[in-house]
């Protein structure tokens, strides 16, 4: 199922949640909507689901305008951040709910629910109540419930946001595998760039109600359209007034042409990686450089030494590489 979102705007009282947002999502992809909280990403997801009505703009699913179609008629699976489990129903009844309200024949419900509970590894807990499950189990139940009606579009609103780090790590890998197995288009909202980078085919960065950039994780990481995207997708440091990735800085003891001279203030060993913090000779904020342990040993650099820092060529400005941007999409 492909999704086209066209010029979507939504205001809550005085707050502009979305301003003229245009997004394209191809069928079968796992897309992350990434951004800081309050940036409008959940509103976008809820409008696609039909849980929120936009002030203006349209949502097309497979080319059909569904902007005025009720959520119950969109054939969508939705997973809420806080699970939205039906607290008075057992796990089994939660998962069966969507099938029951669609008057599915009983034997078919039984088969489908049992299959889904196996898929989410809850087959032994069918008779428990949501309050008797851990957070991770509840979220897996919520996923099974959403998948029961065989949606061709699965939407997840910060699905792992309320879980602890270890469970979150497990579930995100599992979501990737699940997406590949059940053949749906999946969109999930997150504020965790690592989560987005790790499992998605496409990332849409939303900030202040606007799309900053859309593209593959590599495109966004290597060729961010602006400082915001660059800073949001990974660690950055400022070298000669320009934002660069700490691992994209070349360190040399010999004065290079165009290099920024700086004095080493600190060397922090973090196992395989070593972090070098240096202060520019002409003053200003400290520069962080990420090096491997081998590189540091080969350089034989110590605290107090003067080094010359150059941005290494792996990072290039976006325009030079020709990656498609939202504005380019709108033009075409």
């Amino acid at each position: 199922m492909s999704i086209q979102v066209r010029n979507l705007s939504k205001t809550f009282d005085d707050f502009h949640a979305l301003q003229d947002v245009t997004v394209d999502i191809e069928s079968g992809q796992l897309t992350a909507v990434l951004g800081p909280s309050g940036g409008g990403k959940s509103t976008l997801l809820r409008i696609i689901a039909g849980l929120e009505t936009p002030d203006s703009g349209t949502v097309l699913i497979d080319g059909v305008d569904v902007t005025n179609v009720a959520a119950r008629d969109r054939g969508i699976g939705f997973v809420f951040q806080h699970y939205a489990a039906f607290s008075h129903m057992s796990v089994w009844d939660n998962v069966a709910f969507g099938l029951k309200v669609r008057k599915t024949p009983k034997p078919k419900i039984r088969g489908r629910v049992n299959d889904l509970l196996k898929l989410v590894h809850l087959d032994g807990l069918a008779h428990r109540y949501p309050s008797e499950l851990s957070g991770g189990q509840r979220q897996r139940m919520a996923l099974a419930r959403a998948l029961a009606v065989e949606p061709s579009l699965l939407l997840l609103d910060e699905p792992f946001g309320a879980l602890d780090v270890k469970v979150r790590q497990e579930l995100r890998e599992w979501l990737r595998r699940l997406h590949d197995e059940v053949d749906t288009t999946t969109i999930f909202v997150t504020h965790d760039q690592e989560e987005a980078m790790e499992i998605s085919d496409q990332i849409i960065v939303i900030n202040d109600g606007r799309v900053e950039q859309a593209g593959t994780p590599d495109q966004l990481y290597d060729h961010p359209i602006n400082d915001f995207v660059m800073g949001f997708l990974g660690p950055v440091t400022r070298l000669g007034g320009v934002l660069v990735r700490p691992h994209d800085i070349h360190v040399s003891l010999a004065p290079d042409a165009g290099g920024h001279p700086a004095v080493v203030e600190r060397l922090v060993s973090l196992g395989f990686e070593t972090r070098l913090v240096a202060r520019p000779v002409n003053g200003g904020e400290a520069i962080t450089v990420q090096l491997t342990r081998n590189q540091i040993q080969n350089l034989a650099v110590g605290v107090g030494d003067t080094v010359h820092l150059t941005a290494s060529p792996t990072t290039g400005p976006l325009s030079a590489v020709g990656v498609s941007t939202p504005s380019a999409d709108q033009a075409g």
Binding site: A71, I76, F78, F86, M89, V101, R102, A148
Partner: protein, 266 residues
């Protein structure tokens, strides 16, 4: 020592003020054995009064449940216009003396009242019938269900309803299969309070019923009549019956709420 002084003095206060009088009614009722009590309660006047009180309660509870749950849902989901005004109006029966409520109903349905003029012209009897008693009692006990259900609905939030909607449930399916089961204890609690109030209502009913013996006399009116006509055994017996029914309702309520707590803590 000091920390026990406070709790035991309060305990003594409650006992003296609440428990002792009720025990005294029990004592006075059975002072001359069970036979006079049985005679007093099995008289046609007394049984009719009990039946009428039960009928009024049976009308009042479902009306206030349907109205109360609907109103509570509209308030909790911010779909009510002028919410502050609606809230104040719903609390009105709590703030007003039941006698005043009785007078208000009387002025409306009396021969010269807005509704009364029409009703009397068409020979429809409302005032001084069970209908007027029911109207006054519904008025008096209106806030209970709303007050119980609103906070539970607010705490419940809308996520479960939204989840049901995305899964394809209609509004009705969502309400009966998701919302109502989630608020059922609050509804039961409201029902219990409404029933207790409807059964015991005196002030408003006294004015609109006409208090016609064997026809429009409810159990609390019967107690009052017996007392003022120097029939202490009948007054005490019926009074005790009312107290026992209320006590049973209260015990039921306490068990329900402890069950609700257990369920919530699961």
């Amino acid at each position: 020592m000091g920390k026990y002084a406070l709790r035991y003095s309060i305990l003594a206060y409650i006992t003296l003020l609440l428990l002792v009088p009720i025990v005294m009614i029990g004592y006075r009722t059975f002072q001359h054995g069970v036979a006079p009590v049985w005679d007093a309660l099995s008289s046609p006047t007394a049984t009719h009064a009990l039946q009428l009180s039960v009928l009024i309660t049976a009308i009042c509870v479902p009306v206030n449940v349907i109205f109360g749950v609907t109103t509570a849902w509209l308030i909790a989901r911010h779909k009510m216009p002028l919410p502050w005004l609606v809230n104040a109006m719903i609390n009105l029966p709590f703030a007003m003396s039941p006698v005043v409520i009785g007078l208000a109903v009387y002025t409306l349905y009396g021969r010269t009242g807005w509704f009364g003029t029409y009703l009397f012209a068409h020979n429809i009897g409302v005032l001084f019938t069970w209908k007027a008693i029911a109207i006054a009692t519904i008025f008096v006990s209106l806030p209970f269900v709303v007050r119980e259900v609103v906070p539970v609905l607010e705490e419940l939030g809308t996520e479960q309803e939204q989840a049901a909607e995305v899964l394809g449930a209609s509004r009705l399916q969502s309400f009966f299969q998701v919302t109502l089961p989630a608020i059922r204890w609050a509804v039961v609690y409201g029902v219990v309070l409404t029933a207790a109030r409807a059964l015991g209502e005196f002030g408003a009913v006294n004015i609109v019923s006409g208090n016609s013996v064997g026809q429009t006399q409810t159990l609390p009116l019967f107690v009052n009549d017996s007392f003022s006509q120097f029939q202490p055994v009948a007054a005490y017996s019926a009074g005790l019956l009312l107290a026992v029914i209320s006590l049973l309702i209260l015990v039921g309520m306490t068990t329900l709420s402890s069950r609700r707590r257990r369920e919530a803590s699961l």
